[in-house]
Amino acid sequence: MNGYGHRAHQFSWTFLVLALLFQTAGTALAQAEPGSALPDSADNFTGTILFIFGRPQNALPVDVAELRATCVSRLEAALRGRGHRTADRDVIEEQVRKWRVRGSDLISPEFLRELGQEADVGQILVATLLTDNARFLLTTRLIDTASGRLTFVDLIDVDLPEYDPEFAPVGVPEWRRVLDAACQKVVPQWAPPPVPAEETLMVLPTIGIASDPAITSAAAHSLFKTLLGQGLVFLDPSLAEVTMIEAGMPSHWLAPRGRRLLQDRFGAKRILVSELVSYDQNSPMVSLQALDPDEPATIRWILTEFSMSMRTVDLRTGTALRSATILHDKPPATGWFGNPVRTTLLQELEATSQALWAAFSPDSEDN
């Protein structure tokens, strides 16, 4: 055997060993993929509630019932893949009907308490799916049922591919693949219940001025995600909303009676109020109606100029303690050869939320 043949022999052995290693690692990775069985690490259940806005449209050839069932099952599968024990869907539905939970901002403390005590649900994933022409906006919030704390927030927007029934591919429809991938991205890894915080901070849902409600909701989720990322501990915004509404007051009417109610009920001393103001002259405050009356109304997912502001309000006095406002009016960036660099509205909202926190944070120099 010449030297070359010996080296080739060595290479083939090395290749075989490497191939075996890759195969073993590949099997391990495949087992760890979301959706497959993992040993449960949670000692109680995680429930899922989904609210759907918009309606199935051309790019989404599916009825609402099927869309709901598919999305819930995908979210549950994604949760199981991340170590959660998912609760029985019928049990959750029963509680939703009992407490008349009609929207993602209407999660009451009593509903959470009963979910925890009667159904052993430790956390509830509140998801909203907005379908708009050829687009999804999927948002999720994970709420700890014992404390009402918001422990995780995420959101994703996805463009749907063009759909033509004559040329639709055989097999799994494209929208299912897209939805499945989106669901995998917006659920958290299971984590033990959070330790009680020293002080309860409340947060109100973001107020939108001259902006579409869907965009305001996206801005709110983006802001809450930033706040959680900065280590802030706060109750889910829907708790304040529901408590005020049940007492006959809009949630933003922080009059003495409303403030006292929030203090007595949650032991909170401060509340965070945020605003999104659109200065976009081209996009009116409501969804644009397409020129063709048969076409459904669509949301214009662009804001060229907007501001986000945030202030902390003292619940004892009703006065603002700290505030910050950030304006976003950057023109689209240009890349190589003058090509515009495309950023999505969600990316812009996320960047503005982070800039707002930087201006608002007690560590910032301006404050």
Binding site: E275, Y279, Q281, E305, A320, T325
Partner: protein
């Protein structure tokens, strides 16, 4: 040669003069009021006389931000004002009597109430240049007697001498709003 230098100097003086001609607020400030007693204020919803249906809310938001940024007075949350208005059955367009202002002050526990009215808001189409223009008036009433102690009217636009000279579009609507509010507040704080 001397003539040329004189002309150049004159042109520079004119340039400085023209560029310094920024619009100013027309204001009234009562001299017999000690403003240090006004520690907590509320900001009433602004009236909207313009054609943009969101003008008052946008300008109100900027006004709140600028007042808070100055850190001169404590500001009660807007919801408190809405709640008090509902309690007293007042609307944005209500013309308040001094008694009502005093009553509002008691309900909200504030020393002063700011009012505002947006008269013009949006793109000005009089000239070839499309610039944003805002005209608004603001006032402050103290709640002990219900009397007006400060009032200002300002007009700002997004154009400037330098923008016209070197090109460029109008300043953003937010910037024009912020300038408008700041010019008014400068006459008070």
């Amino acid at each position: 040669m001397r003539k040329m230098w004189n002309s150049a100097a004159m042109a520079l003086v004119m340039l400085a003069f023209v560029s310094g001609c920024s619009p100013k607020a027309t204001s009234f400030v009562r001299d017999d009021v000690d403003y240090s007693f006004i520690r907590t204020v509320a900001i009433f919803p602004f009236q909207n006389l313009s054609q943009d249906i969101n003008a008052n809310e946008r300008l109100h938001s900027v006004f709140v931000s600028q007042i808070l940024e100055r850190d001169a007075v404590a500001v009660v949350e807007f919801g408190t004002v809405l709640s008090a208005m509902s309690q007293m059955q007042l609307t944005v367009d209500s013309v308040l009597t001094p008694e009502q202002i005093m009553e509002l002050g008691k309900v909200m526990s504030v020393d002063g109430i700011f009012f505002g009215s947006v008269e013009e808001y949006g793109i000005e189409r009089l000239s070839k240049d499309r610039t944003y223009s805002i005209t608004a008036s603001y006032s402050l009433a103290e709640t002990q007697t219900g009397s007006m102690v400060w009032s200002a009217q300002t007009r700002t636009d997004g154009g400037s001498f330098w923008r016209k000279l070197f090109g460029g579009g109008s300043a953003s609507l937010y910037s024009v709003s912020k300038n408008n509010v700041n010019q008014a507040l400068e006459t008070l704080f």
